[in-house]
């Protein structure tokens, strides 16, 4: 029987395994050095915050793997021999495969800062990072202050985590405004304010120069590049993005660049070796997407797609329209289609923006200046229906159409205040149009395009 070996038990590897099992009775082995059972990485923060226990982050009960005849192996792969199709482990044992799926995910970026490997310096990616955090920052007695370096989604999550235990946090962000390479200024500024409302010491346009050690090799303080200011701290969180976790592959003959290079079928240059998820890098970008996308759902989709190929239904990876979501402390964020920040905006793109006068609620709709084609939407504090935006993007609808039928797309809980009228009124005023909002219609919402 064909033996499928998957390195990595994250969402990509596990999804691939599940779908291969759905479609075949091939022998499947999942290897992980991090944990025995699959858990949801995105939920690690909630364990530290006390919302959940580790077991709650495991989407499947422990009997699931036996019942579905999926072998779990704990071990660290040190070498891949593609000629005789075997894996070598750190403990010198080996395992042979017929088909190999590399799904090893990412690791936090380190940019060669002095002191970046001291005790108390950690990323927020692996289960082991969480254990480290529990060790170095169990409370605000042991950890008098934490410094977070890097202004992305993981950085703000780490800040939220530490604040939940009342630990003072200094947050160093390289950009002049939080995440302004991705978010339009309106949103970015709102988040800046919200971060400060949560008593996080946000330092914009600030870089890390070095991390200083005490006599025991533990973090003592950090020095800021621009001002030379020294900030005493007990924990430094490095959250300046992630890179593919592929060090052990580099000399295996599998072609890599930043990640493991794959074609549209997620195949590498070596037959029967595939790569999916965060560690996979497309030879050529798909649409406006990046070559490497470290997003939960693309990992899932690659797993689904590759499982089809492995089960003899060769399927290309075709991610649909871009979407994503996040939560910045108390502000929920969703995005559908492409809304680029001012910095990356294309020539033909224009924004329509609306912001609530008091609450942390705002939207930006991006559209084509000339054709008025709808390009994408960012919403903060308003939930939107994925299906509807996916359809509108497929249909190349105009922004006028989107606004007219905006009520169909609202996904907020029942009884929430709706802002469609305000939003459309603002657009009408700015563009001298006379768009009338249509009442929400189930028929339209569930009409299959």
């Amino acid at each position: 029987m064909e033996h499928i070996v998957i390195i990595g038990n994250g969402i990509s590897g596990v999804t691939a395994a599940r779908h291969i099992r759905k479609n075949s009775d091939k022998k499947i082995t999942i290897i992980s050095a991090e944990t025995k059972y699959f858990f949801s990485r995105t939920a690690l923060m909630y364990i530290y915050m006390g919302h959940m226990k580790f077991e709650h982050t495991q989407p499947y009960e422990n009997w699931f793997w036996d019942k579905n005849n999926i072998n779990l192996k704990e071990g660290f792969v040190s070498k891949i021999n593609t000629d005789d199709k075997t894996l070598e482990f750190k403990d010198a044992s080996t395992l042979s495969y017929d088909k190999l799926i590399i799904a090893t995910g990412s690791k936090p970026n380190k940019f060669g800062w002095p002191g970046q490997d001291l005790d108390g310096v950690l990323g927020m990616y692996h289960k082991q990072d969480l254990e480290n955090l529990e060790k170095f920052a169990p409370n605000n007695e042991v950890c008098k202050r934490a410094v977070i370096v890097g202004g992305g989604l993981i950085g703000i999550e780490l800040a939220e985590m530490l604040r939940s235990r009342k630990i003072p946090v200094t947050f160093l962000v390289r950009e002049a405004s939080f995440w302004n390479g991705v978010l339009p200024a309106q949103e970015s500024e709102m988040i800046n304010k919200h971060i400060q409302e949560h008593h996080i010491d946000l330092r914009l346009s600030t870089n890390l120069k070095e991390i200083k050690s005490d006599e025991n090799g533990k973090v003592k303080s950090i020095i800021i590049e621009e001002t030379g200011e020294e900030i005493p701290c007990n924990v430094v969180g490095l959250t300046a993005g992630v890179t593919p976790n592929i060090d052990f592959i580099k000399d295996s003959g599998i072609e890599t660049k930043k990640g493991v290079l794959v074609n549209r079928f997620l195949e590498t240059n070596i037959a029967d070796v595939y790569a999916i998820g965060d560690c996979a890098e497309q030879y050529e970008a798909i649409g406006q997407r990046r070559n490497i996308e470290a997003v939960w759902y693309t990992g899932r989709m690659m797993g689904e797609t590759l499982a089809q190929t492995i089960c003899n239904k060769k399927t290309a990876y075709k991610p649909g329209h871009w979407f994503n979501s996040a939560k910045f402390l108390d502000i929920e964020y969703q995005t559908y289609g492409w809304v680029f920040s001012e910095r990356n905006k294309k020539e033909n793109e224009a924004y329509f923006q609306w912001q609530h006068p008091k609450e942390n609620i705002c939207i930006t709709i991006s559209f084509d200046k000339n054709t008025h084609q709808f390009l994408g939407i960012n919403t903060f504090g308003i939930r939107m229906r994925h299906e509807i935006f996916d359809r509108w993007l497929n249909e190349n609808q105009t922004i006028e159409h989107v606004l007219e039928f905006l009520k169909d797309a609202n996904f907020d809980p029942e009884f929430y205040t709706l802002y469609e009228a305000d939003i459309v009124a603002k657009f009408n005023k700015e563009h001298q149009t006379n768009i009338k909002i249509k009442k929400k219609s189930w028929k339209r919402i569930f009409a299959r395009a």
């Binding site: 006390g50 919302h51 709650h56 989407p59 939930r383 809980p413 929430y416």
Partner: protein, 539 residues
């Protein structure tokens, strides 16, 4: 803020201590004249009971526990005496004499008989200072709890989901505090249901309020009802603060509070004061399992127009209103907007909601148990009604009184009370609703097969974090559906809306939409750009 919270906790505990300690105070005794009046009032014909009670409780100063023992012994001695006579005449085949003895027997549960007489016999500080005692128990409890809860407005920070530290606290992570609360609650229910005479002092505290409302003194059920409303109100304040950003939760909490206080408490009391049968108009059969018992049917048919109205309303509520409303709104209109059991679960039980078991085994147990209880309650009703109309005492070999007693004991007292509420801190807040409520089983069947309600999953946005499953009080593994992009259509879902509230990605929404397409097992999640026609043709 922390100081206020701690002070509040101390004040609350003092109130709780006084409330608990009040049981042990007071003197119980009757004068001969009072005893004679009591016996005449009750119409006891036994000479023995008079002698025995006189010996036991006249002009003695007993505490409630001594009093209870004495009183129960007296009733037992009297009944034993006549039982012996019955046995004697039976063996002599002296049927006339045997038959005569029955009128002397006294029926009722020993602790209920003891409670009734203790209510007359009690005196002491609590009874004489009910106003002061009310302040020292309920008053301090309310003030303390509010001082503990109100600082959350500031301590919780900006509005938003704040479940911070729930699994780090002993009280909400099955630590020793949780076990202590469990023991207190279980003992409370055991005493309330099975030893009401021990807590007769509590009824003295509420006598003035009861008299003002219904014209009569407080019973242990009045104490329970009053306490229930108080706890829901205070813990409702906690809900308002915790979920102040979420309108669904605010409105729903207001609704359960309204129905509990007005429909379950005030209206029945006022009806009683007007000499009508006290009836909770929202309490649908079969949750209201004694609706079709003889005593209730007799009381309703004897109360004229209002009785007949209640009878018809009760039947229409169960057969028409309940399923029609479930069709349009799901069972949540009852379970999380109206029901008293649900109301307590959502207010007092909210801090424990994360403990409901999500394993597959628990789900299997749930389906067996809840449907068995439904079958049991229907069987009981059929037997009872058959016996009522035919005038016999058993149907298909099942004794009507036996099955009613068994149901009341096992389901009404143990499952709904002792386990259902007592076990909140360890097993989660909807143990009863999930595993035992026959009405929930009935509503669930309608919801699963014929309803417009579902929890909609938002395309491919789920990141499988598991907040939804963790905080589902009904033990539904919401994530299992959400990560597949499937709508959640489950008979046990009470539509509390917390899964939607705790979701950090806005993936879940409670919706009443078209029935078509409500159940949507998805082959490929949204996001992957597959050719749908090809996919369908391949099948």
């Amino acid at each position: 803020m922390k100081f206020i919270k701690h002070t509040g906790l101390v004040i609350f505990l003092i109130g709780l201590f006084i409330f608990t300690a009040s049981i042990f105070t007071g003197n119980f005794s009757l004068t001969q004249q009072e005893l004679d009046t009591y016996i005449t009032e009750k119409g006891y014909k036994s000479e023995i009971i008079k002698q025995e009670l006189t010996k036991a409780i006249v002009d003695k100063n007993l505490n409630i526990f001594e009093f209870s023992t004495q009183a129960r012994n007296a009733f037992e001695a009297s009944n034993n005496y006549y039982d012996a006579l019955i046995a004697k005449y039976n063996s002599e085949k002296n049927w006339t004499k045997k038959g005569e003895q029955y009128q002397y027997k006294i029926f009722g549960k020993p602790h209920t008989l003891s409670y009734e007489i203790a209510k007359k016999a009690g005196s002491g500080f609590v009874k004489e200072n009910s106003g002061l005692l009310w302040f020292l128990t309920f008053g301090l409890g309310i003030i303390g709890a509010l001082l503990f809860i109100l600082p959350n407005l500031i301590l919780l920070g900006k509005p938003g989901i704040k479940n911070d530290g729930i699994y780090l606290e002993s009280s909400t992570n099955r630590g020793w505090i949780a076990w202590l609360v469990l023991v207190y609650l279980v003992v409370f229910y055991l005493v309330l249901y099975f030893r009401p005479d021990y807590v007769v002092n509590w009824t003295f505290i509420l006598d003035p309020i009861s008299k003002a409302l219904n014209g009569g003194p407080a019973s242990q059920w009045f104490v329970y009802g009053f306490l229930y409303c108080t706890i829901m109100l205070v813990m409702g304040v906690r809900m308002y603060i915790k979920y102040r950003h979420n309108k669904y939760q605010i409105i729903r909490t207001t609704s359960v509070l309204f129905f509990q206080i007005v429909f379950a408490f005030l209206i029945p009391e006022i009806m009683t004061s007007l000499n009508m049968p006290g009836y909770d108009f929202k309490n649908a059969f079969p949750l209201d399992y004694d609706f079709f018992f003889e005593w209730n049917l007799k009381s309703l048919t004897k109360s004229g127009g209002i009785g007949i109205f209640i009878l018809v309303w009760g039947i229409v509520l169960t057969l028409v209103i309940v399923p029609v409303m479930v069709y349009f709104f799901g069972k949540r209109w009852y379970c999380s907007w109206v029901c008293g059991c649900g109301g307590l679960a959502e207010t007092l039980g909210d801090p424990y909601r994360q403990h409901s078991n999500k394993s597959l085994n628990a789900w299997k147990l749930e389906r067996w148990l809840i449907h068995s209880v439904l079958a049991f309650s229907l069987l009981m009703t059929i037997v009872t009604l058959y016996c009522y109309f035919s005038g016999t005492s058993s149907f298909l070999g099942i004794n009507s009184q036996w099955i009613k007693d068994t149901y009341s004991f096992l389901i009404g007292a143990w499952f709904a009370g002792v386990i259902g509420t007592g076990f909140y801190p360890i097993f989660g807040n909807r143990v009863w609703c999930r595993f035992g409520c026959p009405l929930a089983a009935y509503l669930g069947m309608v919801q699963r097969f014929k309803s417009r309600f579902r929890i909609t999953t938002n395309g491919g946005q789920c990141i499988s974090c598991g907040n939804c499953s963790t905080y589902c009080e009904q033990g539904i593994d919401v994530r299992a559906y959400a990560q597949k992009g499937e709508n959640i259509v489950r008979s046990s879902c009470v539509g509390c809306g917390i899964c939607s509230a705790v979701c950090p990605r806005g993936v879940l929404k409670l919706e009443n939409g078209p029935e078509e397409g409500r159940i949507n097992p998805t082959d490929v999640l949204l996001g992957n750009d597959v050719d749908l026609m090809k996919l369908i043709n391949k099948k």
